[in-house]
């Protein structure tokens, strides 16, 4: 039992069907007919998010259009003690939006309006279902943009970004969602509307905004978000450096930062990832290299010219075999193309892949890569590494074939081992994808029972009946004591399956 097993329920169970019929009647009293989905084939599209190995049909799906409707839905569910799982675009990678069988799936997909965009104050007030990239597109006319750029930014919504504290490839310089959101309007489980944060800095009292961002839909439902917009840099330039040794590439990252330069993006890929990406995207990557670094510098014209020269010299001094400097935006985007399509590229060379999300103190990179390779050999599954090198966020991609008996189990067990390795070197099990259902076991490794109890106390401060997104994010003491007592967490346990 390496996998966290969500409780499985049968959609057609008679008791559930009665609950459903009852709830649908009550919901239809204030929601239009098309806002309540109750047929099995209607709710099927909501059975999973971006982590599709976990599937569960919800009791029913609601698609409200107004904040008042969200409040009414939550009030009703609160009164009847029905669990609620909120969902944006469903692009999450940790099963955070996985439904619960006896609970309502609350889709915010119809909240797609940009309510206000103030180019002078550089803020945008948007509904939660607005796509991440749509904010940047709306701001572009004013020379502004929204900084966090998760790789799903075409599809993912700002509400989901708030839930996950999403990052992207520019975090080291521009921060995560928590650094770029000024305020949210939240509906708590009892239907109360709460304004958290403000366009004015340093809201009085506790920093509730920090708590909400990254809370994976467990504290409240976000119905409005105010984001900060930044001026688009005058110029961006990328450097592509090849190395015949992964450790040397890792040291180069430290050399750039020690020289006082904060790149806008600093990404690393290892040999298997380079080869897959090049075959897929034809970005001009040196396929014989053991590692490549992509370093992007942005700022004013003069600043970028000065810094690109310095970075080039540092990369060469660090032992890069080749360094290419983008001459125009087309070339810069070509450098990025391979990196940005690394996941689908790996998806093409392997029937399935499983993406990990640990963050480590960067000085432990050689040790972590070495141990990951050993673990990969033990479990008999190849691993390609894509690394947000600037901020230490590692995405090992485990290649497997779900149709081969036992491989999915082995992939997940290997993933769990890699995450525990990240914790052992002082890192964390998740840098930007969230805990969800996926990493609930590893929470028991990263945090002590007292720390987990504090998280649960925070949860109850917002949601005393624990109805919002149950079973995600924070494990119960019972779950952890069972997981800690597992006699065997190695590969053999899964070979035996």
């Amino acid at each position: 039992m390496s996998l966290p097993q969500p409780s499985q329920t049968d959609f057609n169970d008679p008791r559930l069907a009665a609950t459903r019929a009852d709830l649908v009647r009550a919901l239809r009293a204030f929601l239009p007919a098309d806002a309540v989905l109750e047929q099995q084939e209607q709710v099927r599209p909501y059975e999973c998010d971006g982590l599709s190995v976990y599937r569960q049909l919800p009791l029913l799906v609601v698609l409200p259009r107004t904040v008042a409707e969200v409040q009414q839905v939550l009030r009703l569910c609160h009164a009847r003690a029905v669990p609620v799982v909120a969902r944006g675009a469903g692009t999450g990678l940790s099963g955070g939006a996985l439904p619960v069988g006896d609970g309502v799936l609350l889709s915010l997909a119809r909240f797609t309006r940009i309510l206000a965009l103030d180019p002078v104050a550089r803020t945008a007030r948007v509904e939660p279902g607005v796509r991440n990239l749509a904010i940047t597109e709306a701001a572009a006319a004013h020379g502004l943009y929204y900084a966090p750029d998760p790789s799903s930014q075409i599809a993912c919504t700002i509400g989901g970004n708030v839930a996950e504290n999403s990052g992207g490839v520019h975090c080291l310089k521009y921060g995560l969602t928590v650094h770029n959101v000024l305020a949210v309007t939240l509906v708590t489980m009892d239907g109360e509307l709460v304004e958290i944060g403000a366009a004015a800095p340093d809201s009085p009292g506790y920093d509730l905004l920090a708590l909400i961002i990254g809370s994976e839909g467990m504290l409240g439902v976000t119905v409005e978000v105010t984001v900060k917009l930044l001026p688009v840099p005058e110029r961006a330039q990328a450097l592509l450096a090849a190395y015949d040794d992964v450790e040397r590439a890792g040291q180069a990252v430290g050399d750039i930062i020690a020289a006082g330069i904060i790149p806008a993006g600093l990404e690393m890929m290892d040999g298997p990832a380079i080869q897959a990406a090049e075959a897929f995207a034809h970005a001009g990557y040196p396929t014989e290299a053991a590692a490549i670094l992509i370093c992007e510098i942005d700022g004013t014209l003069d600043e970028v010219a000065e810094l690109a020269q310095r970075v080039r010299a540092l990369l060469l001094a660090s032992g890069a075999t080749t360094v290419q400097v983008s001459q125009d935006d087309a070339e810069r985007l070509r450098f990025w193309k391979g990196r940005k399509s690394a996941f689908p590229a790996v998806g093409r060379i392997s029937p399935d892949y499983y993406c990990m999300d640990g963050t480590i103190p960067r000085r432990h990179l050689p040790q972590v890569l070495r141990r990951t390779a050993e673990l990969a050999a033990e479990y008999g599954l190849p691993v390609a590494n894509v690394f947000h090198a600037g901020d230490g966020n590692l995405h090992p991609l485990i290649l497997f074939d779900a149709n081969k008996p036992g491989e999915l189990g082995r992939a997940e067990a290997l993933g769990g081992q890699i995450l525990e390795l990240c914790v052992a070197v002082g890192g964390t099990i998740t840098g930007e994808h969230g805990v969800g259902i996926e990493k609930i076991n590893q929470m028991c490794i990263q945090f002590s029972p007292a720390e987990l109890a504090a998280f649960r106390a925070v949860k109850r401060a917002f949601d005393p009946l624990e109805l919002l997104n149950p079973g995600k994010g924070i494990p119960t003491p019972r779950h952890c004591s069972e997981y800690r007592q597992l006699p065997e967490r190695g590969p053999e346990a899964h070979h035996r399956q």
């Binding site: 403000a198 004015a200 009085p204 009292g205 920093d207 904060i262 720390e451 504090a454 106390a457």
Partner: protein
């Protein structure tokens, strides 16, 4: 204290002693008044005299500093001066320019008090705020438990972000034993420009510049009876600063004067504006808000997002004006300090505060009443 003892005292781990202290206080139901160097003791509301002092200055020392990873971890009693010195050796800094606020020649401000008060200096809107740079903390709660939240890495979304929750909580949720901060490189070049203009013009200019990719790191407007002047600091790569200087214009201030202006006059509030006994209000606003119609002189920072006001006007009257603009007002210094020193919270927000206080400090032992009279 001789030199040897002083050195030792600057590096000691009192986790066990402090935990025992809180445990004993919890057993006796005795409230505690948290104290570092005492440089921020005049901020917020006073804690009742009956509370027993919990001295935190001794729990000091840099635990881990990794310049190449931009992270430093230090115990709460470590002075900002000690941290600055260690960072400067590696060409780095605490980017939010934390105010010290201590008396000249008095005890030096500590990291713990700085983070507990959550104040940021002139760079705040252009760099990051105190809360933005906190990566993790080890916290001693009112249950006498030592909990570690966050960590020493930039990206970490495991569990709720309880370390940032502690920033600005004035010690009411827990004792910040150790704090991990993201640090940043010192800029290679810095230039301050001065322009004569009134407040409305200054607001218009600061917001216009901020919408362009210029390397601005601080702004301030004050009127010393001269019709008003606007100070702008540019910092970063030399070529970028020089280009921005010609784009913005204004009289350059000599480097030593510029450093004194931002550090002493503004960050440490030695500017004439801050002298005297009139109540000092700190008003936070959406940065593009038009000049506020309030009685008393104002000094603006943060592109217009932070406005200082000297005024004897009724707190309710000040807050009514500020609230209408989407801001909040803190009675920063002076005036009547037993009432609502911080902007009153909306009822559902206050209810959440009470529940969170209960989660971390169920007996209400830590700094009771320091933030709000209700908890």
């Amino acid at each position: 204290m001789d030199e040897q003892t002083r050195n030792t005292a600057a590096h000691q781990d009192l986790t066990t002693e402090l935990t025992e202290h809180v445990r004993a206080a919890a057993a006796a139901g005795r409230p505690l008044k948290l104290r570092g160097a005492g440089t921020k003791s005049l901020l917020g509301r006073p804690v009742a005299d009956s509370a027993e002092p919990l001295d935190l200055a001794g729990h000091a020392g840099i635990v881990n500093y990794q310049p190449k990873e931009l992270v430093i971890t230090a115990r709460c009693g470590t002075t900002l001066d000690a941290i600055d010195a260690a960072l400067a050796e590696q060409g780095q800094q605490i980017p939010f320019e934390p105010p010290r606020l201590g008396a000249r020649g008095g005890p030096a401000a500590t990291l713990g008090g700085t983070i507990a008060c959550g104040l940021s200096g002139p760079a705040r809107p252009y760099a990051d705020a105190a809360r933005d740079l906190v990566l993790g903390a080890r916290v001693l709660t009112g249950r006498a438990e030592v909990l570690r939240f966050g960590g020493e890495v930039m990206k970490n979304v495991a569990g709720y972000d309880c370390s940032r929750l502690m920033v600005g909580a004035f010690g009411t949720l827990g004792v910040l034993l150790d704090i991990s901060l993201k640090v940043m490189p010192l800029p290679r070049c810095s230039r301050t420009l001065v322009q004569a203009c009134d407040q409305a013009t200054a607001l218009e200019r600061m917001n216009r510049w901020a919408a362009r990719p210029l390397p601005i790191t601080a702004t301030c407007w004050a009127d010393a009876g001269d019709g008003g002047r606007l100070w702008v600091r540019l910092a970063g790569a030399e070529q970028g600063v020089l280009a921005a200087q010609s784009a913005i214009g204004g009289e350059p201030l000599p480097d030593d004067q510029a450093a004194t202006f931002w550090t002493e006059s503004i960050r440490e509030q030695q500017h004439g504006f801050f002298g005297g006994d009139l109540p000092l209000w700190r008003i936070a606003l959406p940065q593009a808000t038009a000049p506020l119609d309030l009685p008393g002189p104002q000094l603006l920072e943060w592109g217009g997002a932070q406005r200082w006001l000297r005024s004897t006007a009724e707190p309710a009257a000040i807050r009514a004006v500020v609230s209408r603009c989407g801001g909040h007002a803190t009675l920063f210094r002076g005036g009547e300090r037993t009432g609502a020193v911080f902007h009153p919270l909306a009822p559902p927000v206050l209810a959440l505060h009470r529940q969170l206080k209960h989660a971390f400090d169920p007996q209400g032992l830590l700094n009771p009443g320091r933030l709000y009279p209700e908890f």
